[in-house]
Symmetry: D2
């Protein structure tokens, strides 16, 4: 039973080429190379992810459907561009919507995210990748996600640079190597947790 | 000439009571006590602040008008609730829109924010105030804001608590004291920079 | 084969009662309750952890022995007090010493930390727990540690408070509950990875 | 009366060439170019900065003398290398020692740092500058430092790179430009606050 991977892209742009997509594609290839099933990317800017901290913010809210797709997978590839040295506002919004997991526990105290693993795909013209992975790891772990070894696949250019990852002629070798390791670790861990779920610890 | 203060509230809620408003009001009172002119609060959730990193994202974008009010003041009170231990997604969106300042410099390389000072008003049920002020300070300083001594006025309850600041019977003495110091420092510094602007350093 | 847990305490104090120890003890009890073997805590301030980013900084360096004990366990309980809203300088030093893992990979590209899981025990008088877990998660994940669901067990008092965790009359119920869940998740995950190690992805 | 600048270097190395020194020298030149008086750099690794949160940790502690030199200046250039995407452990230690300022207020509630401004000089092989400036701004602002517009002068190479700033053949134009702006802003603000100190707000 193949591990199922759901990428999301939190670029601010509704459409058009996205460097975050380019990084997600590097991970997509790595996951496919080890037999994982990778779903089409959810582009959050093209959906109406309403502000709020519940799982359904009412009419017109696209989060319930996105949430379902995310939770149907074993691995979440959380893609975000860096803006102001930090994850995008759309990335933050997605994290906020998962705050609802805290009150959606089962009889063993387990949130819907338990047993699922997350991987970050982070790109920017320049510095901010570590700040971004720190914030994503903390927020998602707080709401039940597990983080496999080497769970951040990122690229940024030299300080104060303006090159886009999508415009690089080739994927840097270190990025490609990191992507293969990150995908392997994530798939391995998701597989283990699928077979042997966290037992939970009371309600 | 009184120092002019513009508070913004980045709560996720379009309307209704807001703990962030309650904290902004503590600062409002402190500013009024020293003769500053405090404008009505801009509630970002009630506006359509479009995603993007320019100063005008086109039809329906309420940022241009909000931007104008923010830049008409000498002091920005940046109010945000804590969600997931971090500033709200709306707070991040406002910061992103200020990324445009980087390319809006005058002949001396000065951004529209030069000479203006920022103060944070941060509230949450629990932990995350320092994480929030760190992110706000870094992002806003990168785009030209000056940060006076003691520029974070915050309240959070005990770890994993659920009390709202707006429901406290009285404002804690330490919050009140911090607000008075923060307002005094901000008004003093804004006054100095109004009279003696940063000279800039070339284009 | 019981899971082996190694707690470390990064308090700044060489000796005496430590709130970080009090939190580690909450986790110790939780781990023992599920049959894990918990080693005596390594108090970093009582050792000479030299500055540097290698695994042995020469004469008098106590890191090589501490490193050996940490890597002999399956779970690391990373205990730190909050100072200035952030982990202690000693916590940062311990993280820096693990930077060496990056060049200590085996033939499959796996660092010595692969397959091991980390849990944070964080205490402070006030705010800073989320900022601390974000920094610890990011730094340790970068050097190969895996982070199980709910990997931060923390306590802080109300904003700008001065109560010490060690002086609380009883452990708050939420802390106790979190500790039991965190320990259960960590032990479960460490057990899985012990039996089925990460395969790695080339040298 | 010339503005007085005190640089500190929080490299982990006791001696030898330091990229952080190279960045401090860029700022030194910029400050000298506008007539400021720049003191010799305090290399923290060469001193015995004891762990703790008081202004004097007893016998052998070099902090009291370092503290005196820092407070004798109007501008602090806080230099740190990036390790694990974050400021060095020595940088954190220096920040911790300033925690004591909180209880060293005068009759108007002003800490010894009031009226003084701070500038960051941050270098790393790769990503982590924004994470570092966020942490430094937050910690130092909490203990009374003022942060002028554009207070982080940094350089990092491309993601996962290994080039040292000190080995660059020339200082990148953007770094040089930023340094001149940062120095100009810092000196201007320090000058204003020297002439017109923060009034404080009660004890």
């Amino acid at each position: 039973m193949a591990v199922r991977v759901q990428p999301i892209n939190c670029t601010l742009k509704v459409e058009g080429d996205s460097s975050t997509d380019a990084m997600i594609d590097v991970l997509r290839k790595a996951f496919k190379g080890i037999g994982a099933q990778v779903e089409p990317t959810l582009r959050m800017a093209a959906l109406n992810i309403k502000p709020g901290v519940t799982s359904d913010e009412g009419e017109g809210d696209d989060w319930p459907a996105a949430r379902e797709r995310i939770l149907a997978a074993d691995v979440l590839v959380f893609g975000t561009p860096i803006w102001m040295g930090q994850p995008s506002s759309l990335a933050k919004r997605v994290m906020e919507r998962m705050d609802a997991f805290l009150s959606e526990t089962d009889g063993q105290g387990r949130m819907p995210s338990y047993g699922k693993v997350v991987l970050c795909a982070i790109v920017g013209n320049e510095d901010g990748a570590h700040a971004s992975s720190a914030l994503i790891f903390q927020a998602l772990n707080d709401v039940g996600w597990t983080i496999p070894a080497i769970a951040a696949c990122y690229w940024v250019g030299e300080a104060m640079g303006s090159t886009d990852f999508k415009d690089l002629k080739t994927v840097p070798e270190m990025v490609d190597k990191t992507a293969r390791m990150a995908a392997t670790n994530a798939a391995h861990l998701a597989g283990l947790l699928k077979t042997s779920p966290f037992p939970g610890a009371g309600g």
